[in-house]
Symmetry: C3
Subunit: 308 residues, 3 copies
């Protein structure tokens, strides 16, 4: 595949080879950065970060990645002060920003916004989340985190916990994990089970699937537990929510039967799905996961800018 | 003239020689940037962008220009979070920011704000729009765009379309074009004609002027059509507005009688003055015009910083 | 003392030797910057500025300092668009940002926030103000300004004017000045006198203290007058406030009996405590004081980053 000048819109656009290549480049960059302290691949290049809806974490991760590559950043962090207010179309906004920059990262509340933007401009577009649709760099950094922690993805038993019905992150991750030889444990309340069409697709692609509502009983099986937030508003009544919430908190007690090597990930921000007492245990991988965003985004920026 | 350390407040402060010199420097920088990929004239210098009212497009253009010159940027994009809220005067704000930076770009809702700022500080001040008064870098980039597209300004027949009564952009542009040997076609609804005093000044300076309400009849004469927005609130009743709006949209039909070489410009953002179907025609110059802002602002920053 | 990797949370954590060392480093950096135009000590390093409450002046000063050192900046200027809104804890926010950066500057409305942050992360934390508690870099730049203006701090007669009861700035400054052999003149309305416990501490540390309500009578004694704002809301009735306000404005008349060498400082922003007519007199030191923030913050960033 040719990465050069390519847009990054959806993980579904990537083959397994694309992903493997990207993870290798990210690993190389992480090591180079550690050795040399700073890199200059993107010296003189400009990243524009267009956050039509705020996402401080994702924005700062991309900006850090661009600076670590030696490049510069311009942009905005919310649509409140942009020409959108004057009635400008998204197409015009991105064609304007294209004149000021070499690569554009876009986050937009509207599904399909990133794809539309990519069709309008010649500079590469990287999707940092478009509505409930796609957030491909999150999935790529999740895979990178797993590979770096375990040295491999094949052979792992991975639990996905939380809101598996509406959760964009777990849908994308599950689809990407289907490239590998993994066992997936889908742990959720009945109301928030993974949609049938995704489970069928995973089956067809040869993934071994276990659905369950039982977190504690499943934990001993797992190499990795990927936790996501369960939102109150998904439940018809408060009492039902509180029951579920209580039984899905990951804490010292929940982890009593975990194997020593169990790792826990979370896309963050968390509220109380993972108790802070877990942070200092050897299980916590979620801040390392945050860090992984930087080399993965460095790789994406560097490849699409054609400077690596 | 000595450009070094000079403020850029109003196009009226510039002689024709000043403008020609600036356009030459901008062209040189554009070519150097294309050849070398990145420049380092302003390495170690800091631009402060003080946007007391938001203008994402202008801000990003200046920031891109500063980064393309190798410099850094600090600033704010709206007054909402500044000391102005604590009752600080504009004079104190700019004298404070002067301590942090080497050149200041200011946008302010109050007419005369940029001039006042320039009187208070020793670092150069560049006006990025003060109320309905002046926005000199827009005019300079317009001239640059024309010169780059046609190879000259002299001899061109230029139509100015839209709200010629209140439009700051077209007033400044018309005054600057009076330095050249051009024919101006002022195309507007009767209610929004160019003010008499400007027309008289243009006459005195030897510009050939044609006033008309007829867009379609005028198009065949033109080398360049500069389109601006007509705002609903300028009209006493809705019906009148809709009639005008309809007859002044530039689209494929309007352009049927245009010569092949006709170019169309617009300061953007547009709403529906130019139909998107025009974007892919050879007439559209408005995104190239956006790009022109970068070398022109690089030239302004570099000259006032004395680093070129 | 070992400055490397250290947090900067409170001036109370500093010995006199720590302060003296810092001021020397700041002076060296200021001179180097003047000679060379730009420095590259922090090339490749990233500063994250986390302003949970806005403070444009302080933020821009830190960003300027980081750029002057050759480094890059990421961050946010108000909490409005952060994950805090999604219920994220401060601890999680700083541990996330730690993954993206090499040093963190934090401003937070909650007392103790900076100390808490420092306990959560391994990168250095610099406190840019936590509620009414501490703003150590203001105190350090105040000391630096005095030392640069007078060549020494010992032996000076220093007036502190304004709200000495609630003013965080004057409390910290007075405590830091107690390291030196100074005479302090505390000039305030009776309602806003310096708290007893601070005065007692200053006495114990050997500072010569004069309390007074009389500005004009005290001015002839002073080498330096440090002015702060008196806030209307501190007074039970409006009339009382206006009387006080009038008698504490520093203007040409107030300064008639000042010695020629008297210098006036103010942490800014000011409202009307110092009349603008004073700005152009030789007494005004407050914009030089703003400038001093840059070398002092360069020194703090460079030392904590271990790049000097």
């Amino acid at each position: 595949m040719d990465w050069k000048g390519r847009d990054v819109i959806s993980v579904r656009d990537f083959s397994k080879e694309d992903i493997e290549f990207l993870l290798k480049v990210a690993e190389r960059l992480e090591k180079e950065l550690e050795e040399k302290g700073s890199l200059d691949y993107a010296g003189g290049k400009i990243l524009a970060t267009l956050f039509f809806e705020p996402s401080t974490r994702t924005r700062m991760s991309f900006e850090s990645a661009m600076h670590r590559l030696g490049g510069s950043v311009i942009g905005f962090s919310s649509a409140a002060t942009t020409s959108v207010r004057k009635g400008e179309s998204l197409a015009d906004t991105v064609r304007t920003v294209e004149q000021y920059s070499d690569v554009i990262v876009i986050r937009h509340p509207m599904e399909g916004a990133a794809r539309l933007a990519a069709e309008m401009v010649e500079v590469p577009i990287i999707n940092a989340g478009d509505g409930s649709n796609q957030h491909p760099t999150q999935t790529l950094l999740d895979l990178y985190t797993i590979k770096r922690a375990f040295g491999r993805i094949d052979g792992l038993k991975i639990g996905l916990l939380g809101d598996l019905k509406y959760g964009r992150t777990v849908h994308s991750l599950a689809e990407a994990l289907a490239f590998y030889d993994v066992g997936l444990y889908l742990i959720s309340p009945r109301l928030l089970r993974m949609p049938r069409h995704i489970i069928e697709e995973l089956h067809e692609r040869g993934v071994e699937i276990h659905e369950t509502t039982d977190l504690e009983g499943t934990i001993p099986e797992l190499d990795l537990l990927y936790v996501t937030r369960i939102q109150r508003e998904r439940f018809p009544d408060e009492e039902e929510y509180l029951k579920v919430k209580g039984s899905y908190q990951v804490n010292r007690r929940t982890l009593e039967k975990a194997t020593e090597k169990l790792k826990i990930m979370h896309p963050l921000p968390r509220v109380d799905e993972i108790h802070p007492e877990v942070d200092r245990s050897g299980h916590a991988l979620y801040f390392r996961q945050v860090f992984s965003g930087v080399p993965v985004r460095m790789a994406l920026l560097g490849l699409t800018l054609r400077v690596l």
